[in-house]
Protein backbone atom coordinates (compact mmCIF):
# COMPACT_ATOMS: atom_id res chain seq x y z
CA UNK A 1 0.00 0.00 0.00
CA UNK A 2 2.69 2.48 1.00
CA UNK A 3 4.60 1.48 -2.09
CA UNK A 4 1.64 2.37 -4.25
CA UNK A 5 1.22 5.71 -2.43
CA UNK A 6 4.87 6.47 -2.98
CA UNK A 7 4.49 5.66 -6.66
CA UNK A 8 1.50 8.01 -6.97
CA UNK A 9 3.40 10.86 -5.31
CA UNK A 10 6.40 10.24 -7.52
CA UNK A 11 4.29 10.24 -10.69
CA UNK A 12 2.44 13.39 -9.65
CA UNK A 13 5.82 15.07 -9.11
CA UNK A 14 6.86 14.04 -12.61
CA UNK A 15 3.69 15.52 -13.97
CA UNK A 16 3.56 18.75 -11.99
CA UNK A 17 7.17 19.71 -11.55
CA UNK A 18 7.76 20.78 -15.16
CA UNK A 19 4.57 22.86 -14.90
CA UNK A 20 5.98 24.69 -11.84
CA UNK A 21 9.27 25.25 -13.59
CA UNK A 22 7.45 26.72 -16.58
CA UNK A 23 5.46 29.02 -14.35
CA UNK A 24 8.65 30.38 -12.79
CA UNK A 25 10.47 30.62 -16.12
CA UNK A 26 9.46 34.09 -17.37
CA UNK A 27 10.00 35.66 -13.95
CA UNK A 28 13.59 34.45 -13.85
CA UNK A 29 14.14 35.67 -17.38
CA UNK A 30 12.79 39.06 -16.39
CA UNK A 31 15.32 39.17 -13.61
CA UNK A 32 18.15 38.59 -16.06
CA UNK A 33 16.89 41.29 -18.39
CA UNK A 34 16.73 43.88 -15.62
CA UNK A 35 20.44 43.55 -15.09
CA UNK A 36 20.82 44.72 -18.73
CA UNK A 37 24.28 43.42 -19.49
CA UNK A 38 23.94 42.23 -23.13
CA UNK A 39 20.47 43.28 -24.21
CA UNK A 40 20.23 46.85 -25.59
CA UNK A 41 17.49 48.95 -24.08
CA UNK A 42 16.38 50.57 -27.38
CA UNK A 43 15.57 49.00 -30.70
CA UNK A 44 18.30 49.62 -33.29
CA UNK A 45 16.30 49.20 -36.49
CA UNK A 46 12.99 50.97 -36.86
CA UNK A 47 10.99 49.28 -39.66
CA UNK A 48 9.63 51.96 -41.97
CA UNK A 49 7.82 49.75 -44.43
CA UNK A 50 4.47 48.34 -43.44
CA UNK A 51 3.94 44.68 -44.03
CA UNK A 52 1.90 44.23 -47.21
CA UNK A 53 -1.49 42.84 -46.47
CA UNK A 54 -2.53 40.99 -49.57
CA UNK A 55 -6.11 39.93 -49.64
CA UNK A 56 -6.77 37.94 -52.76
CA UNK A 57 -10.38 38.31 -53.86
CA UNK A 58 -12.20 35.06 -54.11
CA UNK A 59 -13.15 33.81 -57.54
CA UNK A 60 -16.88 33.52 -57.87
CA UNK A 61 -17.82 29.98 -58.82
CA UNK A 62 -21.16 29.63 -60.57
CA UNK A 63 -21.73 25.90 -60.80
CA UNK A 64 -25.17 25.80 -59.23
CA UNK A 65 -28.32 26.76 -61.02
CA UNK A 66 -31.67 27.28 -59.39
CA UNK A 67 -34.97 28.26 -60.90
CA UNK A 68 -38.63 27.72 -61.48
CA UNK A 69 -40.62 26.44 -64.40
CA UNK A 70 -44.11 26.64 -65.76
CA UNK A 71 -45.67 24.60 -68.52
CA UNK A 72 -48.02 21.89 -69.62
CA UNK A 73 -48.18 18.37 -68.17
CA UNK A 74 -50.13 15.81 -70.11
CA UNK A 75 -51.26 12.96 -67.86
CA UNK A 76 -52.07 9.99 -70.05
CA UNK A 77 -55.87 9.43 -70.38
CA UNK A 78 -56.62 12.61 -68.43
CA UNK A 79 -55.76 15.49 -70.72
CA UNK A 80 -53.25 18.21 -70.06
CA UNK A 81 -52.94 20.67 -67.24
CA UNK A 82 -50.63 23.40 -66.02
CA UNK A 83 -47.52 22.44 -64.12
CA UNK A 84 -45.29 24.59 -61.92
CA UNK A 85 -41.97 23.36 -60.64
CA UNK A 86 -38.58 24.09 -59.20
CA UNK A 87 -35.23 22.89 -60.40
CA UNK A 88 -31.75 22.85 -58.92
CA UNK A 89 -28.81 21.85 -61.05
CA UNK A 90 -25.17 21.26 -60.28
CA UNK A 91 -22.81 21.57 -63.22
CA UNK A 92 -20.00 19.12 -62.62
CA UNK A 93 -18.17 19.66 -65.90
CA UNK A 94 -18.92 21.70 -68.98
CA UNK A 95 -20.70 18.62 -70.35
CA UNK A 96 -22.42 16.97 -67.41
CA UNK A 97 -24.87 18.26 -64.86
CA UNK A 98 -27.12 16.81 -62.20
CA UNK A 99 -30.60 18.11 -61.76
CA UNK A 100 -33.19 17.76 -59.08
CA UNK A 101 -36.73 18.86 -59.81
CA UNK A 102 -39.99 19.10 -57.93
CA UNK A 103 -43.27 20.03 -59.58
CA UNK A 104 -46.96 20.07 -58.95
CA UNK A 105 -50.02 19.96 -61.16
CA UNK A 106 -53.76 19.39 -60.90
CA UNK A 107 -55.17 16.60 -63.05
CA UNK A 108 -58.87 16.52 -63.83
CA UNK A 109 -61.12 13.61 -64.85
CA UNK A 110 -63.82 15.95 -66.18
CA UNK A 111 -63.90 14.16 -69.54
CA UNK A 112 -64.75 10.84 -67.85
CA UNK A 113 -67.44 12.51 -65.77
CA UNK A 114 -69.35 13.37 -68.95
CA UNK A 115 -70.15 9.70 -69.42
CA UNK A 116 -69.42 8.34 -65.93
CA UNK A 117 -71.10 10.66 -63.44
CA UNK A 118 -69.07 9.21 -60.56
CA UNK A 119 -65.82 9.91 -62.30
CA UNK A 120 -62.55 8.10 -61.81
CA UNK A 121 -61.02 10.12 -58.98
CA UNK A 122 -62.47 10.77 -55.58
CA UNK A 123 -62.52 14.47 -56.38
CA UNK A 124 -62.80 15.82 -59.89
CA UNK A 125 -59.34 17.30 -59.58
CA UNK A 126 -56.48 15.32 -58.11
CA UNK A 127 -53.12 16.71 -57.20
CA UNK A 128 -50.10 15.36 -59.02
CA UNK A 129 -46.64 16.01 -57.64
CA UNK A 130 -43.37 14.59 -58.75
CA UNK A 131 -39.72 14.79 -57.91
CA UNK A 132 -36.83 13.57 -59.96
CA UNK A 133 -33.06 13.32 -59.92
CA UNK A 134 -31.52 13.33 -63.36
CA UNK A 135 -28.26 13.51 -65.23
CA UNK A 136 -27.96 15.85 -68.18
CA UNK A 137 -25.46 16.05 -70.96
CA UNK A 138 -24.88 19.24 -72.98
CA UNK A 139 -24.31 17.84 -76.40
CA UNK A 140 -24.80 20.88 -78.64
CA UNK A 141 -23.05 23.78 -76.94
CA UNK A 142 -23.18 26.86 -79.09
CA UNK A 143 -24.33 30.36 -79.59
CA UNK A 144 -27.66 31.83 -80.61
CA UNK A 145 -27.36 34.94 -82.74
CA UNK A 146 -30.28 37.16 -81.90
CA UNK A 147 -29.02 40.19 -83.80
CA UNK A 148 -26.14 40.77 -86.17
CA UNK A 149 -23.79 41.75 -83.37
CA UNK A 150 -25.18 39.96 -80.36
CA UNK A 151 -24.86 36.25 -79.60
CA UNK A 152 -26.05 34.38 -76.52
CA UNK A 153 -24.43 31.26 -75.10
CA UNK A 154 -26.66 28.24 -75.49
CA UNK A 155 -26.72 24.48 -75.21
CA UNK A 156 -28.98 21.67 -76.26
CA UNK A 157 -28.99 18.92 -73.67
CA UNK A 158 -30.39 15.47 -73.21
CA UNK A 159 -31.49 14.49 -69.75
CA UNK A 160 -32.63 11.29 -68.07
CA UNK A 161 -33.37 10.32 -64.52
CA UNK A 162 -35.50 8.66 -61.92
CA UNK A 163 -37.94 9.83 -59.38
CA UNK A 164 -41.36 9.49 -57.95
CA UNK A 165 -44.78 10.70 -58.98
CA UNK A 166 -47.56 11.03 -56.45
CA UNK A 167 -50.78 10.93 -58.39
CA UNK A 168 -54.26 10.22 -57.04
CA UNK A 169 -52.70 9.75 -53.58
CA UNK A 170 -50.37 7.00 -54.65
CA UNK A 171 -46.63 6.94 -55.23
CA UNK A 172 -45.35 5.66 -58.53
CA UNK A 173 -41.72 5.06 -59.45
CA UNK A 174 -41.03 7.28 -62.43
CA UNK A 175 -38.40 7.33 -65.10
CA UNK A 176 -37.97 10.53 -67.08
CA UNK A 177 -36.05 11.48 -70.15
CA UNK A 178 -36.11 14.45 -72.42
CA UNK A 179 -34.39 17.14 -74.34
CA UNK A 180 -33.97 20.80 -73.57
CA UNK A 181 -32.40 23.99 -74.72
CA UNK A 182 -30.72 26.51 -72.46
CA UNK A 183 -30.02 30.09 -73.51
CA UNK A 184 -28.06 32.47 -71.30
CA UNK A 185 -28.88 36.17 -71.79
CA UNK A 186 -26.21 36.97 -69.15
CA UNK A 187 -23.67 34.85 -67.31
CA UNK A 188 -25.97 34.34 -64.36
CA UNK A 189 -29.38 34.05 -65.97
CA UNK A 190 -30.69 31.20 -68.12
CA UNK A 191 -33.88 30.51 -70.02
CA UNK A 192 -34.79 26.87 -70.64
CA UNK A 193 -37.32 25.18 -72.84
CA UNK A 194 -37.72 21.52 -71.91
CA UNK A 195 -39.56 18.52 -73.25
CA UNK A 196 -39.83 15.53 -70.95
CA UNK A 197 -41.49 12.19 -70.94
CA UNK A 198 -42.41 10.95 -67.46
CA UNK A 199 -43.01 7.21 -67.57
CA UNK A 200 -44.71 5.37 -64.75
CA UNK A 201 -47.00 2.41 -64.24
CA UNK A 202 -50.58 3.23 -63.45
CA UNK A 203 -53.63 1.10 -62.68
CA UNK A 204 -56.13 3.91 -62.24
CA UNK A 205 -58.23 2.68 -65.17
CA UNK A 206 -58.38 -0.91 -63.93
CA UNK A 207 -55.43 -2.63 -65.52
CA UNK A 208 -51.82 -1.85 -64.82
CA UNK A 209 -50.13 -0.21 -67.77
CA UNK A 210 -47.12 1.91 -68.53
CA UNK A 211 -48.12 5.52 -69.09
CA UNK A 212 -46.23 8.21 -70.98
CA UNK A 213 -46.84 11.61 -69.51
CA UNK A 214 -45.39 14.30 -71.68
CA UNK A 215 -44.40 17.62 -70.34
CA UNK A 216 -43.39 20.86 -72.00
CA UNK A 217 -42.15 23.69 -69.86
CA UNK A 218 -40.18 26.88 -69.91
CA UNK A 219 -37.99 27.92 -67.00
CA UNK A 220 -36.02 30.81 -65.71
CA UNK A 221 -32.94 29.98 -63.66
CA UNK A 222 -30.16 31.81 -61.90
CA UNK A 223 -26.55 30.67 -61.56
CA UNK A 224 -24.94 31.13 -58.17
Amino acid sequence: MTKRLAAVILISQWVFLPECALAQGPAEEGGVLEQGQDVPSTQVIEPEIDRRHIKIPRINVDDLEFGAYYGVYSAEDFGSSQVTGLRLAYHVTEDIFFEGAYATSMVSDALFRQILPGGIFINQEEKLTYYSASIGYNFFPGEVFITKRRALTSAVYVIAGMGNTNFAQEDRATVNFGIGIRILPTDWLAIHIDMRDNIFKSDILGTSKTTNNFELHGSLTVYF
Partner: protein, 257 residues
Amino acid sequence: MGTFFYAYRYSYATGAVYLLLGQLLMAAVARADQTYQRVQVVDPYIELHTGPGRGFPVFYVSERGAWIEILLRKTDWFKVRLEQGKEGWVYRAQLENTLTESGIRKTFRDVLLDDYFKRRLEFGMSTGTFEGDTLLGFHLGYILTPTVSVEVAYAQVQGVFSGSTLYHINLQSQPYRDWRLAPYFTIGAGKFNNVPKSTLVSAITTDSVAANAGLGLRYYITRRFIARAEFTDYIVFIGDNRTDSYKSLTAGFAFFF
Protein backbone atom coordinates in the same frame (compact mmCIF):
# COMPACT_ATOMS: atom_id res chain seq x y z
CA MET B 1 -54.32 35.54 -66.61
CA GLY B 2 -56.90 33.99 -64.29
CA THR B 3 -55.65 30.51 -64.99
CA PHE B 4 -52.11 31.67 -64.38
CA PHE B 5 -52.95 32.72 -60.85
CA TYR B 6 -55.01 29.63 -60.33
CA ALA B 7 -51.84 27.61 -60.72
CA TYR B 8 -50.39 29.34 -57.65
CA ARG B 9 -53.34 28.82 -55.40
CA TYR B 10 -52.30 25.33 -54.45
CA SER B 11 -48.61 25.98 -54.08
CA TYR B 12 -47.73 28.59 -51.48
CA ALA B 13 -44.31 26.98 -51.24
CA THR B 14 -43.75 27.73 -54.89
CA GLY B 15 -44.67 31.33 -54.23
CA ALA B 16 -42.13 31.56 -51.44
CA VAL B 17 -39.48 30.17 -53.71
CA TYR B 18 -40.29 32.68 -56.44
CA LEU B 19 -39.60 35.32 -53.83
CA LEU B 20 -36.26 33.69 -53.06
CA LEU B 21 -35.52 33.54 -56.75
CA GLY B 22 -36.11 37.28 -56.96
CA GLN B 23 -33.67 37.86 -54.13
CA LEU B 24 -31.09 35.67 -55.86
CA LEU B 25 -31.52 37.78 -58.96
CA MET B 26 -30.93 40.93 -56.95
CA ALA B 27 -27.86 39.44 -55.29
CA ALA B 28 -26.50 38.58 -58.69
CA VAL B 29 -26.99 42.15 -59.86
CA ALA B 30 -25.49 43.60 -56.68
CA ARG B 31 -22.21 41.77 -57.06
CA ALA B 32 -21.41 43.73 -60.24
CA ASP B 33 -19.11 46.23 -58.47
CA GLN B 34 -16.68 43.92 -56.68
CA THR B 35 -12.92 43.65 -57.03
CA TYR B 36 -11.46 40.73 -58.87
CA GLN B 37 -8.38 38.62 -58.60
CA ARG B 38 -5.57 39.75 -60.94
CA VAL B 39 -3.05 37.35 -62.41
CA GLN B 40 -0.24 37.64 -64.94
CA VAL B 41 0.03 35.31 -67.91
CA VAL B 42 3.19 33.18 -67.96
CA ASP B 43 2.32 30.82 -70.82
CA PRO B 44 3.30 32.09 -74.29
CA TYR B 45 -0.33 32.96 -74.86
CA ILE B 46 -3.85 32.27 -73.60
CA GLU B 47 -6.90 31.81 -75.76
CA LEU B 48 -10.13 33.64 -75.07
CA HIS B 49 -13.25 31.72 -76.05
CA THR B 50 -16.66 33.29 -76.51
CA GLY B 51 -18.27 30.89 -74.04
CA PRO B 52 -17.46 28.49 -71.21
CA GLY B 53 -16.85 25.37 -73.29
CA ARG B 54 -14.40 23.91 -75.77
CA GLY B 55 -16.93 24.24 -78.60
CA PHE B 56 -16.96 28.01 -78.42
CA PRO B 57 -14.64 29.75 -80.89
CA VAL B 58 -11.43 31.48 -79.89
CA PHE B 59 -11.87 35.17 -80.64
CA TYR B 60 -8.78 36.68 -79.05
CA VAL B 61 -5.31 35.65 -77.90
CA SER B 62 -3.50 37.39 -75.08
CA GLU B 63 0.28 37.21 -74.85
CA ARG B 64 2.73 36.45 -72.03
CA GLY B 65 3.06 39.16 -69.42
CA ALA B 66 -0.46 40.47 -69.77
CA TRP B 67 -2.44 41.14 -66.61
CA ILE B 68 -5.89 39.64 -66.50
CA GLU B 69 -8.75 39.87 -64.04
CA ILE B 70 -10.69 36.71 -63.20
CA LEU B 71 -14.36 37.56 -63.07
CA LEU B 72 -16.13 34.26 -62.77
CA ARG B 73 -15.70 30.51 -62.86
CA LYS B 74 -18.06 27.98 -64.41
CA THR B 75 -16.91 24.38 -64.07
CA ASP B 76 -13.40 24.41 -65.60
CA TRP B 77 -13.75 27.71 -67.42
CA PHE B 78 -12.75 31.14 -66.14
CA LYS B 79 -14.19 34.35 -67.42
CA VAL B 80 -11.34 36.86 -67.62
CA ARG B 81 -11.05 40.54 -68.44
CA LEU B 82 -7.98 41.89 -70.18
CA GLU B 83 -6.55 45.31 -69.35
CA GLN B 84 -8.04 46.83 -72.49
CA GLY B 85 -11.45 45.57 -71.40
CA LYS B 86 -11.91 42.50 -73.59
CA GLU B 87 -13.73 39.68 -71.82
CA GLY B 88 -13.62 35.99 -72.67
CA TRP B 89 -13.48 32.48 -71.28
CA VAL B 90 -10.20 30.67 -70.65
CA TYR B 91 -9.74 26.99 -69.87
CA ARG B 92 -8.29 26.06 -66.48
CA ALA B 93 -5.21 24.34 -67.92
CA GLN B 94 -4.10 27.57 -69.64
CA LEU B 95 -4.21 29.48 -66.38
CA GLU B 96 -2.12 26.97 -64.47
CA ASN B 97 1.01 28.97 -65.29
CA THR B 98 -0.01 32.37 -64.03
CA LEU B 99 1.42 34.56 -61.30
CA THR B 100 -0.50 36.41 -58.64
CA GLU B 101 0.16 40.06 -57.81
CA SER B 102 2.66 39.00 -55.16
CA GLY B 103 4.59 37.02 -57.78
CA ILE B 104 3.55 33.62 -56.50
CA ARG B 105 2.36 30.95 -58.88
CA LYS B 106 -1.39 30.65 -58.82
CA THR B 107 -2.80 27.14 -58.68
CA PHE B 108 -5.86 26.24 -60.65
CA ARG B 109 -5.57 22.57 -59.99
CA ASP B 110 -8.20 19.99 -60.62
CA VAL B 111 -10.04 17.98 -57.98
CA LEU B 112 -7.71 15.13 -57.18
CA LEU B 113 -7.79 11.75 -55.51
CA ASP B 114 -6.32 13.49 -52.47
CA ASP B 115 -9.42 15.69 -52.22
CA TYR B 116 -11.49 12.55 -52.30
CA PHE B 117 -9.67 11.17 -49.28
CA LYS B 118 -10.15 14.49 -47.48
CA ARG B 119 -13.82 14.81 -48.35
CA ARG B 120 -16.30 15.80 -45.66
CA LEU B 121 -19.69 15.64 -47.31
CA GLU B 122 -21.04 13.11 -49.71
CA PHE B 123 -24.37 13.22 -51.48
CA GLY B 124 -25.72 10.59 -53.79
CA MET B 125 -28.56 8.60 -55.19
CA SER B 126 -28.98 4.96 -55.94
CA THR B 127 -31.40 2.54 -57.44
CA GLY B 128 -31.84 -1.19 -57.27
CA THR B 129 -34.10 -3.96 -56.09
CA PHE B 130 -35.82 -4.28 -52.75
CA GLU B 131 -37.29 -7.77 -52.56
CA GLY B 132 -37.94 -7.65 -56.30
CA ASP B 133 -39.41 -4.14 -56.34
CA THR B 134 -37.73 -0.98 -57.58
CA LEU B 135 -35.97 1.10 -54.95
CA LEU B 136 -34.90 4.70 -55.36
CA GLY B 137 -32.72 6.10 -52.63
CA PHE B 138 -30.87 9.24 -51.61
CA HIS B 139 -28.17 9.64 -49.00
CA LEU B 140 -26.24 12.44 -47.38
CA GLY B 141 -23.11 11.50 -45.48
CA TYR B 142 -20.76 13.39 -43.21
CA ILE B 143 -17.30 12.01 -42.52
CA LEU B 144 -16.65 12.23 -38.79
CA THR B 145 -13.24 10.57 -38.49
CA PRO B 146 -11.02 9.05 -41.17
CA THR B 147 -12.83 5.75 -40.90
CA VAL B 148 -16.26 6.57 -39.53
CA SER B 149 -19.03 8.54 -41.12
CA VAL B 150 -22.67 9.17 -40.38
CA GLU B 151 -25.26 9.00 -43.08
CA VAL B 152 -28.89 9.96 -43.47
CA ALA B 153 -30.71 7.85 -46.02
CA TYR B 154 -34.13 8.07 -47.58
CA ALA B 155 -35.51 5.44 -49.91
CA GLN B 156 -38.74 4.82 -51.67
CA VAL B 157 -39.87 1.42 -52.92
CA GLN B 158 -42.63 1.02 -55.46
CA GLY B 159 -44.14 -2.40 -55.62
CA VAL B 160 -47.07 -3.82 -57.52
CA PHE B 161 -49.25 -3.98 -54.43
CA SER B 162 -47.76 -1.45 -52.07
CA GLY B 163 -45.31 1.36 -51.69
CA SER B 164 -42.75 1.71 -48.93
CA THR B 165 -40.73 4.57 -47.55
CA LEU B 166 -37.58 4.12 -45.49
CA TYR B 167 -35.83 6.75 -43.38
CA HIS B 168 -32.57 5.74 -41.80
CA ILE B 169 -29.62 7.09 -39.88
CA ASN B 170 -26.56 4.94 -40.41
CA LEU B 171 -23.09 4.68 -39.02
CA GLN B 172 -20.63 3.71 -41.66
CA SER B 173 -17.19 2.24 -41.19
CA GLN B 174 -14.66 2.35 -44.00
CA PRO B 175 -11.57 0.54 -42.75
CA TYR B 176 -9.54 1.02 -45.92
CA ARG B 177 -10.35 4.61 -46.61
CA ASP B 178 -7.25 5.32 -48.73
CA TRP B 179 -8.13 2.67 -51.27
CA ARG B 180 -9.65 3.80 -54.52
CA LEU B 181 -11.98 0.80 -54.43
CA ALA B 182 -12.87 0.29 -50.80
CA PRO B 183 -15.43 -1.77 -48.92
CA TYR B 184 -17.58 -0.28 -46.20
CA PHE B 185 -20.00 -1.52 -43.60
CA THR B 186 -23.10 0.18 -42.31
CA ILE B 187 -25.44 -0.31 -39.42
CA GLY B 188 -28.36 1.89 -38.71
CA ALA B 189 -31.87 2.36 -37.49
CA GLY B 190 -34.90 4.15 -38.76
CA LYS B 191 -38.48 3.93 -39.87
CA PHE B 192 -40.17 1.64 -42.34
CA ASN B 193 -43.52 2.74 -43.69
CA ASN B 194 -45.56 0.55 -46.03
CA VAL B 195 -48.79 1.72 -47.61
CA PRO B 196 -50.79 -0.79 -49.69
CA LYS B 197 -52.36 0.41 -52.92
CA SER B 198 -55.83 1.81 -52.44
CA THR B 199 -57.19 -0.73 -54.91
CA LEU B 200 -56.42 -3.51 -52.42
CA VAL B 201 -59.19 -4.39 -49.98
CA SER B 202 -58.56 -4.55 -46.22
CA ALA B 203 -54.79 -4.26 -46.46
CA ILE B 204 -52.94 -2.91 -43.46
CA THR B 205 -50.56 0.01 -43.38
CA THR B 206 -47.28 -0.74 -41.62
CA ASP B 207 -45.33 1.93 -39.80
CA SER B 208 -42.57 0.34 -37.79
CA VAL B 209 -39.10 0.79 -36.43
CA ALA B 210 -36.47 -0.89 -38.56
CA ALA B 211 -32.80 -1.69 -38.24
CA ASN B 212 -30.42 -2.27 -41.08
CA ALA B 213 -26.99 -3.66 -41.75
CA GLY B 214 -25.16 -3.42 -45.02
CA LEU B 215 -22.03 -4.17 -46.91
CA GLY B 216 -20.94 -1.93 -49.73
CA LEU B 217 -18.24 -0.95 -52.17
CA ARG B 218 -17.20 2.57 -52.98
CA TYR B 219 -15.13 3.50 -56.01
CA TYR B 220 -13.66 6.91 -56.76
CA ILE B 221 -14.27 7.51 -60.46
CA THR B 222 -12.88 10.98 -61.17
CA ARG B 223 -13.26 14.59 -60.08
CA ARG B 224 -16.15 14.68 -57.64
CA PHE B 225 -17.74 11.38 -58.65
CA ILE B 226 -18.02 8.24 -56.60
CA ALA B 227 -19.71 4.98 -57.62
CA ARG B 228 -21.35 2.90 -54.92
CA ALA B 229 -22.93 -0.52 -54.68
CA GLU B 230 -24.52 -1.86 -51.55
CA PHE B 231 -26.24 -4.92 -50.17
CA THR B 232 -28.49 -4.18 -47.21
CA ASP B 233 -30.57 -6.29 -44.91
CA TYR B 234 -33.49 -4.46 -43.31
CA ILE B 235 -35.08 -5.92 -40.22
CA VAL B 236 -38.50 -4.47 -39.55
CA PHE B 237 -39.98 -4.87 -36.07
CA ILE B 238 -43.60 -5.28 -37.02
CA GLY B 239 -45.00 -6.52 -33.74
CA ASP B 240 -43.94 -7.73 -30.31
CA ASN B 241 -43.15 -11.16 -31.63
CA ARG B 242 -42.78 -10.62 -35.35
CA THR B 243 -39.92 -9.25 -37.39
CA ASP B 244 -39.61 -9.21 -41.13
CA SER B 245 -36.39 -9.19 -43.09
CA TYR B 246 -36.06 -7.45 -46.44
CA LYS B 247 -32.97 -7.46 -48.59
CA SER B 248 -31.95 -4.84 -51.07
CA LEU B 249 -29.24 -4.61 -53.67
CA THR B 250 -28.55 -1.13 -54.99
CA ALA B 251 -26.05 0.71 -57.12
CA GLY B 252 -25.64 4.39 -57.65
CA PHE B 253 -23.36 7.35 -57.74
CA ALA B 254 -22.46 10.14 -55.41
CA PHE B 255 -20.46 13.31 -55.42
CA PHE B 256 -18.46 14.82 -52.60
CA PHE B 257 -17.42 18.24 -51.29
